[in-house]
Amino acid sequence: MTASRHRQRRGRRPPPPRSRPQRRRVGLLQGLRGWFEQHRETAHDTLAGLLARPLATGMTVAAIAIALALPAALYLLLTNLEQIGGEWERSAAVSLFLAPEVDEARAAEIAARLRQRADISTVELISRDQGLAEFRAYSGLGGALDQLGGNPLPVVLALYPSAQAQSPAALARLVAALEALPEGDFARLDAQWAQRFRAIVQLLRQAALLLGAMLSLAVLLVIGNTIRLEIENRRTEITIMDLVGATGAFVRRPFLYSGAWYGLLGGVLAWLLVALAGWLLQAPAARLAQLYQSELRIQGLDLQASALLLGGSALLGIVGSWIAVGRHLSQVEPS
């Protein structure tokens, strides 16, 4: 025990009485430098602290990642289902049987006119010959038709409703409008599959909403829980920091950084999980696409969704810690 250092302090007089404690005992510039240093150090120290316990951190991060990955995967699933749905509903066409006297040139004119309608995306003309061939293939009644000695079939227009006109009501309106055409004989809605598909998608969407709500809750619970237990673990630390004159902001800071790191790491892992899932589902999706001769590909998270996932997860971590720290800070106040 030496007194050498102590001697420097000799002669220092106690400060005069003040009615409030001084808020700063260090200079402004010094204080600012200290503040930046503290933030950088806290960010570094908390990350180092997390990485120093890889197993514990890994477990927490994995739990957060799974909780985050599920809503993200769900979002992807719905996006892709809607894409499939779009493809699928396209095959739910309306067939407009034109009056027998309308010839193919006239039919082409009508088709061109119909293409202008907002509720129609595509119009295909099925000529009398094509119709006969199809009919033959469908019914196998080639012989019977040949007896007719001519083609009794009218020209048919196959109409594909646009995306906004997929609802049953809109389709019914379209059918009515088509039948009101002077050249139209009658319109048949090939709607059964569309209805079934819509019912299925509705069921899935409702299930997805439920799952989504539960999963969002799970994200909050996992992060909140982790930070809460983390803080309970470090209650002594918080109390001691409080006792040596740390401000609330100072006490909160490492927990907020920890929370942000947990969230961010969880978000990154979640992103990877979603990418992996997308990759694994590529093959069955391709098989499905083949059946439609379509370009259907499982879409990954786009830049915006990725940014939302990562930013949102970090934010969730911070918010979760903020709440948890807030609750505990109030417990070491004097009563």
């Binding site: 025990m1 030496t2 007194a3 050498s4 250092r5 102590h6 302090r9 000799r10 002669g11 220092r12 007089r13 106690p14 400060p15 009485p17 003040r18 009615s19 409030r20 404690p21 001084q22 808020r23 005992r25 260090v26 010094q30 204080g31 430098r33 200290g34 503040w35 240093e37 503290q38 150090e41 002594t236 630390e237 109390t239 001691i240 920091m241 409080d242 006792l243 040596v244 004159g245 740390a246 401000t247 609330g248 100072f250 106040e333 004097p334 009563s335």
Partner: protein, 222 residues
């Protein structure tokens, strides 16, 4: 500097720990606080550090009434008080250096200036060679001295010590008390709760004696 006006502290389940206590310590004064186990010594010190609030009465420190101190200013109040706790209160997963540095870090002092101050404080309690150790790897006496170093590192105008030598051998206890005396010489106010009556008598400073929450003897003051 420190003034108690008819202060009563009641713990609901347990009755009064301090009863109608009034006292006054002037700036730069050094005083001992004695009394049996459970007399209320720690409670008195906690009231000064705003770790507890009085049930009745007023506590004034540096002329400011602690009862009306807004919550957000409590940390700044505590920075003016160096407190040595009876149970050391060290962070088990930080090194001795980091433990002692804590008040300075909390006050936002830049890292460079901190190191010098921390080493000076550790030197004063004879623990410079242990700066890299963690509290759990220290003997109780060593832990106690880390607590003392942490209390003085911020050069506070007030030092409150709660049984600072309970785990120290007589020689070391004497050294610590001498250290306190040196702080007193440079104008720091000190209030030291202790059971070491031998040293208290030897040093002949003002001595306050508590019994069951009441001030029953006061060798100095007015």
């Amino acid at each position: 500097m420190i003034q108690f006006d008819h202060v009563t502290k009641r713990y609901p389940e347990r009755g009064d720990a301090l009863k109608d206590l009034s006292l006054r310590l002037t700036a730069g004064e050094m005083a001992f606080l004695t009394g049996h186990s459970g007399a209320g010594k720690s409670t008195l010190l906690k009231l000064i550090g705003l770790i507890e609030r009085p049930t009745r009465g007023q506590v004034l420190v540096n002329g400011r009434n602690l009862g009306s101190l807004p919550r957000r200013l409590i940390p700044y109040h505590r920075r003016e008080i160096g407190m040595i706790f009876q149970d050391h209160r060290l962070l088990p997963d930080r090194t001795v250096f980091d433990n002692v540095a804590l008040p300075l870090v909390a006050a936002g002092m830049p890292r460079r200036d901190i190191a010098r101050r921390v080493r000076a404080a550790l030197d004063q309690v004879g623990l410079l060679r242990l700066e890299r150790a963690r509290p759990l790897a220290l003997s109780s006496g060593e832990q106690q001295r880390v607590g003392i170093a942490r209390a003085v590192v911020g050069r506070p105008p007030i030092i409150l010590a709660d049984e600072p030598t309970g785990n120290l051998d007589p020689d070391l206890s004497r050294e610590i008390f001498t250290l306190f005396e040196r702080f007193h010489e440079v104008g720091v106010s000190l209030l030291i709760a202790t059971h070491n009556l031998e040293l208290v008598e030897e040093m002949s400073y003002r001595t306050l004696r508590l019994h069951a929450g009441r001030l029953v003897a006061d060798s100095g003051g007015w």
